[in-house]
Structures are given as structure tokens and as C-alpha cells.
Symmetry: none
Subunit: 262 residues, 2 copies
DNA sequence: ACATTCAATCAAAATCTTTCATATTACTTC
DNA sequence: GAAGTAATATGAAAGATTTTGATTGAATGT
């Protein structure tokens, strides 16, 4: 097999799977791991993939999985449905803000083709949207938190003070009757600034986030306009959300659920 | 068989299969490998195929990669040498600013392993550096110019006013005795702000940029501290650069790259 | 602390480029 | 139309490059 041909196959596999390990690659292609490493290096240089310890992930041409956390695949279908529900709230030509996070990332993927102004502090989202001509992208700068690739801190907050958006879509780690939580103190500072900049605050969360807390308290429940969640939440949870005056949007139940078709 | 006829067959086979090796080609056509190589060379020149080690691949109708990645390979070796020369100017632990552009991108690539604070308005650079733990990354936000993925405009400028860096590395489209040029008006505004934020302004350019102008005038020559360029510039060019008081750093010539010559 | 995984290096194999002599084609001239 | 000449195409060989798989010590993640 020709060098180029093999490289194409390598890229194809990575593109298909999102992430591969070296061992997995060498199952498909008969050549040494050294060679595969070199191929990964090659595509990495061209920016189509990103090498990681143990393998590589696709980052090229399209909206891609965030290069950051592996939680992405967790509850993926639910996140997609939540993102789709969020999409329905967005009208053409408006200005929205997208927080970092896996669910907002899913939402970003769905925005293609819509004429919008999108503000975000998330590197993966900016990445995916940057080549879309139909979308005006405004990136929030600041200190980049390496773990998730979002901009945080005083610079980000200062920039938010000069920006006003119709809707802000926020992801959180936990929701309890006490309010919303996220895992990082700087992050919640930044998210508070986002909320101040928005007419409407829409929180995206799967039911797993309910009744869970995290390190940093973001705000009381009353500060948000809308919560979009999948329908698998308990009646009690629904009750205290209603009591706090949160507008609750439940996604339709999973249709093709069951059995992760291999 | 006529030459033309054989060449057509060669192209046809490549188009059909996508990839072919030389051996495979010579099964279908009875002539020497030398001749087939010349045929591949012929079609390669016309852009219908791309020669590779061991054979060739069809490219006639394939889509081309976006502008950014394409330009990367142009004068790549020179850019790398320029980037390497720039690297020598950076001391560990310092704060640098990287403009967008292909040469600064090469520089960013070389930064891995150095403990630095890096400020950039370039999405591709931020991408590459975001997971490096040894590097503190500060991203400049703003309107993202889709063509090159850099942040521009008033938001970016406002953010730069709150930042101070030791060295700013800037890429330009043209350099003449009249000064520096770039292709985008918003971009030069932003770059001026970068220059204001830096103690030292270092411009990276290959010799092809000399004596070329572009749409937007950035600044007179006197405003920059240092120009790093490959050594293929004319004596006149060197003269007017010296006259303007620009510190000129020439990279070593391409061929004579010392180092690990075995 | 451990087991992986990585980057760097090396030698062998494959392939490439260059060069040259020969064969073929095209063109000129008579 | 035939012979001679220039231009191009071909095949083969030598030396330079590239690719590859294996091996090493270093770096990384649990």
C-alpha cells in the first residue's frame, strides 16, 4: 500500500471514530506502530487531528468533539436532544452566547446554516464555527483553562461587560434547590458575567445534573429564565424547579433508545 | 503505442483507482518504470494527480483545503527557519504575544516545552497550545475573521489595552521603505494595538514579502524593533532596512542547515 | 512505583532523481 | 519521395532520498 493511501485511511478512521488508539489503528492497517506514529504526526502537523497520549483525535474540517474531556460521549443522545430543544428557542438573526461545555457544544454543531451572531468563550466551539460564513463569531478572550479550553477570568469578564446578547446558553455541573453549581471558581465568576450580559439565561442540563452540587455556587435558581432537561427527572425535582419559578422545557423521550447499536 | 495514448491510459487508471503504485501501473502498460515516472511527472505538473512515494494519487476533482492550511506549506522550510530564529529571542518565563499568520504559527509550534505566557488572537495557535500545561495561554477575544481564524476589531483592541507583553511577534503581508503592510484594515488596527502593548516588536517575514505592499498600511519601518527574514534578500533591500534602523536577523541559508549532520 | 506510551535514532529496503546512450519521431532540404 | 539533421522519447544504471520497522532511554498517566 502506498504511503499516501495509508495516511488517507488513517485519517478516515480517525475522522470516523473521533478518537483512536494506536493499537486500534494497527488492527486496521498492517504496518508498524512507528509508521502509524509518523502518520499521526503528519496529520497533526496539518491540523486535521490532535495527537494525544495513546492515540489521536479528529479535529479537522468540521465541528468536532472538543479536544478536551472524554465525558463527551456520556449521555450523548440526551445532550443532543437537549441541544435540539435549545435550538428551537433561537430565532434567526439574533445574538446568542454559548458557554463552554459538552451540551452547549452539541448546540453549536446544530447552528450551522443559521444566520446568527454567536458569542462564546469556548475554544472548541469557536473552532467549529470559525469557518462558517453565515455565522458572525465573537470570541471572548481571557486566560485559557487547559482542561476544557474555555476562556476565564477578569479579561473575559471585562469583555463581557461590553457585550449584550439576547440569550445566554449555560452549562452547569449541578442543580439543587439551592441553585446552580459549577466545578471551577473562576468559571462561575465568568458565567455570572455572562448572565449579566444576557436578556435571557437558558441552562442546559441532563437529568444527571439534578440534585448534584459542585465546588462553586453559581447563582440561585431564580436567576435563570429557562432550564432545558431531558424528561427523566423525578416529580420532586420537577416540583422544586417549578416552585423556584424556573421555566422548564423537557425534551421528547429518547426515540431510538436502548441498545447502543454497535 | 503512442506517447499521448499511453499518458491518457495512465491518467485513466489513476482516476479510476484513486491510488496506484508504479508496479501496478506497469502491469497495465508495457513500458519501463522510467517512462511511467515521466508520465506521472507530466500529469503532476498539470495538477491532475499528485505524485507520492511509490506511485501517485488522483487529485483532479478533489476539493482543496481551506486557505489557512494551504498557505502553511508554502515556503514552509523558510518559515520554519524564521520561526526558529525567533525562538532564540524568547527567554524562558517571559510573556510573548503571537499574531495570527503562518509563520507565527510555526513559531507557536516550537514553543512546546518552554515555560511561557503566550498571548494570541489566533484561533489555530490557541488550539495548538491550549493543552500544553507548561504554557499559560491568554486568548484575545473579538470578532473572528473567518478566513484566517484570528480575532480582530474593537473588542480585541480594548483587551490589548489591559495587557502588556515583553515581545510581540507580528506577521505581515508586505514590507517596503514606506513601512509594513497587511491585507486587512481591521487587522492592522489590531496589530497597532499589539505593538502598543509590547516592549519589543519583532516582525517575521520571508523575503517574498519585501518590496510588496498590501491594502492596509500598518506602520513605518521605524516602529518595529527587529525583522527576522530569510537570507535571500537583495542588497538594496538590506540597505533601506538598515537605514530605517531596523535590527535585521537573517536566518541561516536553507541548504547549509547545520545541526546533526551525520 | 509501575506499566504504557513516546521521541529519537539507526540500518535496511524501497523508491526517486539524474545522467547518459540509444531509439524514435519530426522536420528540412534536395 | 529520400536522406540527413534536430528534437524528443525511452530504457538502464548510479547515486541520493525517503520510508520503514526495530530499539533505546525518556516522558507520561494511573
Amino acid at each position: 500500500m502506498l504511503t499516501e493511501e495509508r495516511r488517507q485511511k488513517v485519517l478516515e478512521i480517525i475522522k470516523e471514530k473521533g478518537f483512536v488508539s494506536l493499537g486500534e489503528l494497527s488492527l486496521h492497517l498492517s504496518c508498524s506502530e512507528s509508521t502509524l506514529r509518523r502518520d499521526l504526526e503528519y496529520w497533526d502537523q496539518l491540523g486535521h487531528i490532535k495527537r494525544t497520549h495513546g492515540g489521536a483525535m479528529f479535529t479537522g474540517e468540521q465541528l468536532v468533539m472538543p479536544a478536551f474531556e472524554e465525558r463527551v460521549t456520556e449521555a450523548l443522545e440526551e445532550k443532543r436532544l437537549i441541544a435540539r430543544a435549545a435550538l428551537d428557542l433561537i430565532s434567526d438573526g439574533s445574538v446568542i452566547l454559548l458557554d463552554g461545555g459538552t451540551t452547549t457544544f452539541e448546540l453549536a454543531r446544530l447552528l450551522t446554516g443559521r444566520s446568527l451572531q454567536v458569542v462564546t468563550n469556548s475554544l472548541p466551539i469557536a473552532n467549529g464555527l470559525s469557518s462558517r460564513r453565515e455565522i458572525d463569531l465573537i470570541l471572548l478572550g481571557g486566560y485559557i483553562y487547559p482542561k476544557t479550553g474555555v476562556a476565564l477570568g477578569p479579561l473575559t469578564i471585562a469583555q463581557l461587560e461590553r457585550i449584550h446578547v439576547r440569550q445566554a446558553f449555560i452549562g452547569v455541573s449541578g442543580i439543587t434547590p439551592k441553585g446552580l453549581f459549577n466545578s471551577n471558581l473562576l468559571l462561575v465568576e465568568t458565567e455570572r458575567a455572562m448572565m449579566r450580559s444576557a436578556d435571557e439565561v437558558i441552562v442546559l442540563a441532563d437529568h444527571g445534573k439534578l440534585d448534584r452540587t459542585a465546588l462553586a455556587h453559581l447563582c440561585p435558581l431564580g436567576d435563570i429564565s429557562t432550564l432545558i432537561v431531558d424528561p427523566q427527572l423525578s416529580p420532586e425535582q420537577e416540583a422544586w424547579l417549578a416552585k423556584a419559578g424556573v421555566r422548564l422545557i423537557k425534551t421528547p423521550p429518547l426515540q431510538g433508545q436502548e441498545g447502543g447499536a454497535a
